[in-house]
């Protein structure tokens, strides 16, 4: 309570010290909006004021003096000058250390290498600058869910420009990336499962140094997360062929933004991606069909075990150890899917074989549990019959005793 009063007494004069906010708060429309929004800005929280970006003197109550050009007042900052203005502080390691010691200070250097930065330097003011992604006047920390660059909101923020056909027309860029991304496994992980580590635009394209991955670097970009796949792909017969063709590695089979959940259907069947290049009778076609067959056999075996174990579990049988083994079997299935990137049937065979052994074992456990359930119920039936017979015997004994007692009473009465 005591601290609350002190805070109030000091807060009033401190708040009154920023004449920019004081005056603009009582104005209307777009002159008022920045002052209102600034209350939520991370910079306001650290004691920065409008004057730190716009120049002028926050301590002057006279508007003329406060917004004097002699005091460096610039008013609206030109778009071309925005990155440099932000970098004034954000590239200053000694200043940033006071507020955010762990934050990087190379954003401006990276931005200059980005497509956005290069175009801005050449005078194109339609490209994104800091404020287009981070917002302006109500800039929040990246971890703040209301920030436009929070992982959950970033794809939508990028799409504001990149899905705008008018905006993108002059760059001759497609505008379906966001729509495609929303069909991908990455979007599902990010938006539906709330996995903030799931990749979004910046994970592959970079954030401040944003640019599309080149054909040769796609595998490296995907490989930052999918390490084992990248490793196998690099050693595979596909790598030199795709490189020679100028095809972008992973994208050839998985596409770029619309990355669907991988399935056996990609290897064999009417929609198989392998069949786009390999004839069914060719060595590649045969290998793809064999890999599909092996993986399908493991999927089916695990599903069969799942079913019998679920039945046993629903009957109250203790099969938790077998269910844990099933997880190991599923891991083998994942390993088999990873091994596909070696594009050799033999590589897939090892994890499939191990998985099939586990599936056979768990299936047997499930079957034994169901047999045990039947034995238990038969045992119960036998026990219930024995109990019923005993109860019948007791009832007859009671009748006999009470019958004798009744006769004796009658005789006594006579």
């Amino acid at each position: 309570m005591r601290y609350g009063v002190l805070a109030f007494l000091f807060a009033v004069p401190l708040a009154a010290a920023d004449s920019c906010v004081d005056c603009h708060s009582v104005l209307e429309g777009k002159l008022q909006a920045p002052a209102k929004a600034f209350a939520n800005d991370i910079h306001a929280r650290f004691g920065f004021s409008c004057a730190d970006c716009h120049g002028g003197n926050r301590n002057e109550t006279d508007p003329e003096a406060a917004m004097s050009k002699a005091r460096g007042f610039v008013g609206k900052i030109p778009r071309t000058a925005v990155p440099e203005r932000c970098a004034h502080c954000h590239s200053d390691a000694s200043l940033m250390e006071k507020y955010k010691p762990r934050q990087r200070v190379d954003q401006m250097a990276q931005y200059r290498t980005s497509v956005h930065g290069k175009r801005l330097a050449s005078g194109d003011t339609k490209v994104a600058t800091c404020i287009d992604c981070h917002s302006v006047h109500d800039i929040r920390e990246v971890k703040d869910p209301l920030s436009p660059v929070h992982p959950l909101r970033l794809p939508e923020t990028c799409s504001r420009c990149h899905s705008d056909k008018t905006h993108m027309a002059s760059y001759k860029l497609p505008t379906d990336q966001f729509a495609n991304y929303r069909k991908s496994v990455h979007w599902e992980a990010l938006a539906k499962r709330g996995d903030l580590s799931a990749p979004s635009c910046a994970s592959c394209h970079g954030n401040h140094g944003a640019q599309p991955p080149e054909v040769g670097s796609v595998a490296a970009v995907c490989g930052t997360c999918h390490v084992m796949m990248e490793d196998l792909y690099k050693k595979s017969p596909h790598q030199p062929v795709f490189a020679a063709m100028g095809a972008a590695g992973c994208v050839v089979c998985h596409s770029n933004h619309e990355i669907r959940p991988p399935s056996v259907g990609m290897l064999a069947g009417p929609n198989a991606v392998c069949s786009q290049c390999h004839d069914a009778t060719s060595a590649g076609g045969i290998a793809a069909a064999e890999m599909a067959r092996q993986i399908t056999s493991l999927e089916k075996a695990l599903a069969r075990s799942d079913q019998v174990l679920a039945n046993a579990q629903q009957s109250g049988m203790e099969v938790s150890e077998a269910l844990l083994r099933q997880r190991e079997g599923r891991e083998d299935l994942v390993k088999a899917a990873v091994a596909v990137h070696a594009f050799q049937a033999a590589a897939v065979q090892k994890p499939v074989k191990e998985g099939l052994t586990i599936a056979a074992e768990t299936y047997q456990t499930g079957v034994s549990a169901l047999q045990e359930r039947t034995h238990r119920r038969l045992g119960l039936l036998a026990s219930l019959i024995a109990i019923a017979l005993t109860m019948l015997g007791l009832w007859l004994a009671i009748r006999s005793i009470e019958g004798r007692t009744a006769k004796t009473s009658q005789l006594t009465e006579r």
């Binding site: 109250g316 026990s383 007791l394 005793i401």
Partner: protein
């Protein structure tokens, strides 16, 4: 060389001489049970005793394999139900029997209330019975944690948190129960000690006292049955305890055994997942059914009632309710010795309705 002065033993005389069985036979021959329209309810005391005996026997068998430590408790129960011959049956019977015993004890208690069997001079029989019910609930609470699975771990956390909300002594009481600041290995060891040593010891003594009091005062006949037969110029008919009532009770025990075996075989008691103290509490965590009514009531009470914490108000309310219920034989008659029949019946009906409704709501909502 045999002594010539010793008289030859008669048949059965050896035991008779040492145990005095004639006195027991004479006692049994004279002990009777009233026969009226509600004699059926007399069986529930015996059924509760029978289920307690099952608990002792199956619990002793479980002790042969159970290990009371966080690292081994879950695994040892898993071993019992998967590897030990008939281990699943013993564990399942132990768990089902515990629940049926508490159900049977509740039925016994309400039958005593509605038949007014707590009347003078049976006040101490009522008090010892209520204490035994409390001990049965304590058995349930302490035994629930022993498999060390997720549900039992978090239910114990919630339960001991409630104890901590009691003013003045709450913090120390929770610490005593947990053996530390939080539910952990020390709690498991402690609960195991309570479950297999402390509670059985106290229960055995109290049970003997309860049975002795029942023997001393005999079975109570309801007032209305006494009046009904008095009008006819008769007394309430009696049935010899042995063998007539005893054989009927035996039949009831066999029926209970059949129900118990069926439940254990068709719905084996689940083991669940091993407790992980670092994992978040799973959704929908709730205690055993006999704690559901107070649990759900506490959920409904707002966080603050006037200036008091809601949980504290709830616990104080339950404390007063329990005290009022324990004191039933003392407020059931007025100063002139006239029975407050309507009050007792009303209180019994309201309490029964509250327990049934709130337990159902706690289970389904």
């Amino acid at each position: 060389m045999a002594s010539a002065t010793e008289p030859p033993q008669q048949q059965g005389g050896w035991l008779e001489e040492r145990l005095g069985l004639a006195a027991i036979r004479a006692f049994l021959a004279h002990k009777t049970v009233p026969v009226h329209a509600h004699t059926l309810w007399y069986y529930f005391g015996g059924i509760t005793l029978f289920l307690f005996t099952i608990q002792v026997m199956t619990g002793t068998l479980l002790l042969l394999y159970y290990r009371p430590s966080p690292a081994e408790a879950y695994e040892s129960v898993q071993f019992i139900v998967t590897r030990v011959q008939f281990g699943w049956l013993i564990r399942s019977i132990h768990s089902w029997s515990a629940n049926l015993m508490i159900l049977s004890a509740f039925i016994h208690m309400f039958s005593v209330v509605f038949l007014r069997a707590f009347r003078r001079p049976r006040e101490l029989t009522w008090l010892s019975g209520i204490a035994l019910l409390g001990l049965a609930l304590a058995f349930g609470f302490s035994g629930y944690l022993l498999p060390w699975n997720t549900v039992s771990y978090f239910a114990t956390k919630v339960g001991t948190d409630m104890a901590a909300a009691v003013p003045v002594v709450g913090h120390n009481m929770a610490r005593f129960l947990r053996g530390g600041n939080d539910v952990g290995g020390a709690t498991l060891t402690r609960f195991f000690g309570f479950h297999v040593a402390v509670l059985p010891g106290i229960t055995t003594m109290l049970l003997l006292a309860h049975l002795a009091l029942v023997q001393k005062h005999g079975m109570s006949s309801p007032r209305w049955a006494v009046e009904e037969y008095r009008r006819k110029g008769q007394s309430v008919p009696q049935m010899p305890f042995f063998p007539n009532f005893f054989l009927r009770e035996l039949m009831a025990w066999y029926a209970a055994l059949g129900v118990l075996g069926s439940l254990a075989a068709i719905f084996p008691w689940e083991l669940g997942l091993k407790a992980d103290p670092f994992a978040p509490a799973p959704a929908g965590i709730r205690p055993e059914w006999y704690f559901l009514a107070p649990f759900y009531t506490l959920k409904l009470i707002p966080s603050h009632v006037l200036v008091f914490e809601g949980e504290l108000v709830g616990l104080a309310g339950f404390g007063l309710l329990a005290l009022w219920w324990v004191a039933l034989p003392f407020w059931a008659v007025d100063r002139k010795g006239v029975e407050r029949t309507r009050w007792v019946t009303g209180a019994g009906v309201v309490l029964l309705a509250y327990l049934a409704t709130f337990s159902a709501l706690g289970y389904w909502r």
